[in-house]
Subunit: 233 residues, 2 copies
DNA sequence: CGGTACGTTGAGTCATATCAACCATAGTGG
DNA sequence: CCACTATGGTTGATATGACTCAACGTACCG
């Protein structure tokens, strides 16, 4: 995790095309560029933790971040992932509350830290920005609601199938058709909300039924409609 | 469900003191008063349904509303409740998407319908309003995240205890100490995400252990710390 | 070379869902 | 007024999904 002084321009950054920043004035972008701090994070590093007071928020330039909450007995519950173009930590900045999630890098990432005041100022002075940020929050809220319904009503098998579909949709596949995001069995279990052993058994069941191919952490979906059928979607 | 022409003033309404509307200019309040439509809803009536395009949002003046999603097999999953002072339906207005929840009145309610354009205009022209609305959304998002962790990791017994605590905190008790919100066993099961029979069995277990007193739908909490201990909070 | 983290498999247990029967209550229509 | 029906509540018996525990394999890393 070190400061990268060579990347002071946002020209090539997602910030230019992201719906959230697209409508910014040149001068507002300048303000961000001058005040942001870009850092590289290795797999396993924690960006911020539950309970932290946030001094700013982050744009994900590259890499993948997992965002989780720690349950009563210390088990982590993965809420969502962030990928290039996503922003993280803004919830705490806006509501001025301590972070309610921990964010951990699962694939080497470059993040731009932007001070809280800039975000708050933009919300106040640029109504387009405010509306876009609100849309983003509302979208996340809608997704969270669906997730609640899923976890409460579906079986572990259905949820695992659904998660595989989602991961495929969100992160895509490489040239061999393998899911680009690679997770441990434990991480999968922390999304689905079940035991690691259950994930292992279900993955090999899906494999034996011809829905997927497994090679360690590499998962290849062979029959997406089949999985969707299992997942009830 | 009929228009109530006698309540054209917001003077006595929560709108005056609600954090969201507190900072409005007199002229902005006037705008709302002139354009709102106040209606009374009986228990069981649906305010809006999943998939509806929202032409506005609602302020809850009195009554209690349940907000739920319908799962794959038609089982409803209650996401949250709205009580006087809360606003509902704004998510769809902001993100300009169809509603992802259904809202049903469970205790006779008076609702003020306010056109979407007014909300969107306020967000654009009044930065205080924008910030407050965003705080509200972020708060809901934080709560949704915690709910996900709970449902995924806690047992049914723990969740039921937790829900009872929440209902007590949110809606309070009458003079006899009975929870003000009264729900069917099925509704309780649709919050917890379990079968009705399980709720019945657990409620009587809590009763026999001296944590609660039951009288039909009237539930009285006798030992709140005890319930909190069960709920792991 | 041992250590640590991850993955796998089997066996046993328990929480919870499901199914079925039954009771209580209130509203409805003839 | 009574039979009728619908809705909600309760209880018991049974089935099973999923967790836990325990042992062991595998791979990478200093």
């Amino acid at each position: 995790m070190h400061n990268n002084p060579f990347d002071l321009s946002c020209d090539s950054c997602t910030i230019r095309t992201h719906p959230l920043f697209r409508h910014l004035e040149e001068q507002e972008l300048q303000e961000i560029m001058l005040n942001k701090i870009t850092e590289t994070y290795k797999r396993g590093s924690i960006v911020y933790q539950e309970g932290n007071r946030m001094k700013g928020f982050c744009c994900v330039q590259s890499g993948i971040i997992k965002i989780y909450q720690t349950g009563f007995d210390g088990k982590e519950q993965i809420i969502r992932f962030a990928k290039p173009g996503d922003i993280i930590g803004y919830r705490s900045v806006v509501s001025n509350e301590p972070a309610c999630t921990t964010t951990e890098v699962i694939e080497e990432a470059i993040l731009c830290h932007i001070p809280a005041e800039i975000l708050l100022n933009l919300v106040k002075t640029n109504s387009n920005f405010a509306v876009e940020l609100m849309k983003l929050t509302c979208k996340e809220l809608g997704e969270a609601n669906s997730y609640i319904t899923d976890i409460a009503q579906k079986t572990v098998k259905e949820r695992l199938a659904e998660i595989l579909i989602h991961l495929d949709d969100e992160f895509g596949e490489d040239l061999q058709g393998v899911l680009k995001i690679s997770l441990t069995r434990e991480e999968l279990s922390n999304i689905v909300g079940t035991a690691t052993e259950s994930i292992i058994r279900l993955l090999s069941e899906f494999k034996s039924l011809g829905y997927i191919e497994i090679n360690g952490r590499k998962i290849k979906i062979l029959d997406k409609p089949g999985l969707k059928y299992i997942a009830n979607i």
